[in-house]
């Protein structure tokens, strides 16, 4: 009994700073807030995952890839809240990294914000994402949420693209 408890504690203490998420290739982060009738999702994706490079586009093909990524991330169908909650999407905001051309950035992220207004927020129990279908390089999304039922964290993957609480 002692050993297992110590084991647990050891594992706990050896964890890195959990809140400080760095830039990890292949991994995005998702913040979900439910406040009254508002559902707000903020997605951060390494540019590399979306288009395969992290610098200014060099040719038309790369420019097209950037545009396609922006298009996919603006799609209101990217996230599907519980249908019973009656959530209506508001226009998504997507911020692409700005390449001013002078100093190449070490890393670049895309930020996308999707807001919903929900008629019955009490029925809101999950959000499903189709993001893994658009970006094959993305193999997980670290989701953190804060809502009336409390806070929590979950890992979304292509096999499990549903955040439920």
């Amino acid at each position: 009994m002692r050993i297992s408890a110590a084991f647990l504690a050891l594992t706990a203490l050896s964890l890195p700073a959990l809140a400080e998420k760095g830039h990890v290739h292949g991994e995005g982060s998702l913040e979900v807030v439910i406040d009254k009738g508002n559902l707000s999702l903020r997605l951060e994706l390494p540019l590399d995952v979306a288009v395969g490079f992290e610098r200014a586009p060099r040719n038309d093909k790369e420019k097209a890839a950037l545009a396609a990524a922006q298009q996919a991330l603006s799609d209101p169908a990217l996230f599907a809240p519980t249908p019973a909650a009656g959530c209506k999407p508001e226009p998504a905001r997507v911020e692409m990294p700005a390449f001013d051309g002078r100093k190449p950035p070490e890393h670049a992220d895309i930020e996308a914000t999707h807001d919903f207004r929900c008629a019955t927020p009490s029925a809101l129990k999950s959000v499903e994402t189709t993001i893994f279908k658009h970006f094959k390089q993305l193999y997980r999304l670290e989701a953190r949420r804060a809502g009336p039922g409390g806070q929590g964290a979950a890992r979304l993957t292509p096999k499990n693209p549903v955040l439920a609480w």
Binding site: M1, R2, S4, A5, F7, L8, A9, T11, A12, L13, L15, P16, A17, L18, A19, E20, E31, V33, I34, D35, N38, S40, R42, R144, R145, A146, G147, P148, G150, Q151, G152, A153, A154, R155
Partner: protein, 416 residues
């Protein structure tokens, strides 16, 4: 027939007893792993409610949670009072509770905080702290005790207690500045029960004539004069923060994590716990798998013992047959013996776990903030026990079947 079977088992009590103990220990291990897993989650989740952010110096999120919420372990660094003020007065912040840890009273943690704490703090399902007796502290050198502190040490209202510096029971005493007990809280089943609450000013006042963790020789400021000093704290250990709007929580977290004054860390308590469970899930599964394996080994031992005993019992079984027992009876007897030993082992295991958790509970609470409930097994634990007994029955079928075959073939004089 039953009597004969019982007598036969009694004549082999040493072997069967040892097998029984092996099974009991295996079941104890299995149940302990499961119980600690469930109770750790339960007690961590219950300990804090309605707090949007926990703020401390930059360490690990779990470590911050451990000392700020569960008063277990120690902080590596403090945060400056100015930083706390900057957060507490931020427009998005509804309320903030400063926490100052580091002193203790006979093994119980001492928490310096504001009097607001008793009105703001929530545990379990948004439950408020209730006073069983008395009221919050109002001035310097007044203390509010958690229920277990009061009960364990036999304190009443208006008793005088002295705190010690540091966390050990042997730390230097703040003997010159006793505290008066102004209130005793109702039990919560959380670390609050094991905490002595005082004001932040009291913590500063205690250490007025201290430098570098020891009393300054030759300097002794009597309690009556401390009010003349500036008792505003210079630093605190951590803070609990509630926001006006939940929607600001991630923004505020970023604001605190990027705070320019000093390296700070803000975590969402629910998120930090979930992330902790995510990372220990693998360890938990491994531990559970290993203990399940140990149970299997115990049950295989049981089957082996019964099988090995069969050869010696050929005569006995043949005599039973001669007395009129059918092969089915012999089969039943062997199988029942195994199943009963398993059941007895499981029962003994449950008993051991109940006793053991009673013994380990204070230690787990103090070191890891885990409230281990002493209770009879329920839910998942019952399912585990049932699985053990079912497997035991299955394993006993093997010697039962062998005995059945033998009793068909053997006469009174076994051929060998």
């Amino acid at each position: 027939m039953l009597r004969l079977a019982a007598l036969s088992a009694w004549s082999r009590r040493l072997t069967l007893g040892l097998t029984l103990i092996a099974i009991a220990l295996a079941v104890t291990l299995l149940l302990s792993v499961e119980r600690i897993r469930v109770d750790a989650r339960q007690s961590f989740t219950q300990s804090v409610s309605g707090v949007d952010l926990v703020v401390g110096a930059r360490t690990g999120g779990v470590q911050l949670m451990l000392y700020a919420v569960f008063h277990a372990g120690t902080a590596s660094n403090n945060i400056a009072w100015d930083s706390y003020q900057a957060i507490a007065t931020h427009p998005a912040v509804d309320w903030a509770l400063p926490l100052s840890l580091g002193d203790s009273h006979r093994g119980f943690a001492v928490l310096g905080t504001s009097a607001d704490y008793f009105a703001r703090f929530r545990y379990g399902d948004k439950e408020e702290l209730r006073f069983r007796q008395g009221k919050p502290f109002a001035g310097v050198f007044e203390a509010v005790l958690g229920s277990e502190v009061a009960q364990g040490l036999g304190y009443r209202l208006d008793d005088r207690i002295t705190l010690s510096h540091g966390l050990g029971e042997l730390g230097p005493e703040h003997g010159d500045k006793p505290f008066r007990v102004t209130g005793i809280l109702a039990p919560t089943g959380t670390p609050v029960d094991r905490t002595v609450h005082v004001s932040l000013e009291s913590i500063t006042a205690l250490h007025l004539d201290w430098v570098g963790g020891a009393p300054l020789p030759g300097v002794n400021i009597p309690s009556a004069f401390v009010a003349k000093f500036d008792l505003r704290p210079k630093e605190i250990t951590a803070a609990l923060v509630g926001l006006k709007q939940r929607g600001d929580v991630f923004r505020m977290q970023r604001f605190i994590n990027q705070y320019r004054g000093e390296p700070l860390l803000a975590v969402l308590p629910g998120v930090a716990l979930d992330e902790l469970w995510q990372s220990v899930a693998m360890v938990e599964r491994t531990l559970l798998a290993i203990s399940a394996l140990v149970v299997l080994i115990g049950l295989a031992g049981l089957a082996a013992t019964l099988l090995a005993g069969l050869n010696e019992r050929r005569r006995e079984l043949a005599i039973l047959r001669a007395l009129g027992a059918g092969p089915g009876d012999v089969f039943l007897m062997l199988t029942a013996e195994g199943a009963l030993v398993t059941a007895a082992g499981a029962l003994l295991g449950v008993l051991l776990v109940t006793l053991g958790s009673g013994l380990a509970a204070p230690w787990l609470l103090e070191r890891f903030g885990i409230v281990l409930a002493t209770r009879l097994p329920g839910g998942q634990e019952l399912a585990l026990i049932a699985a053990v007994i079912a497997t035991g029955l299955l394993a006993s079928l093997v010697p039962g079947w062998r005995a059945w075959r033998m009793s068909l073939a053997d006469g009174l004089t076994p051929r060998n």
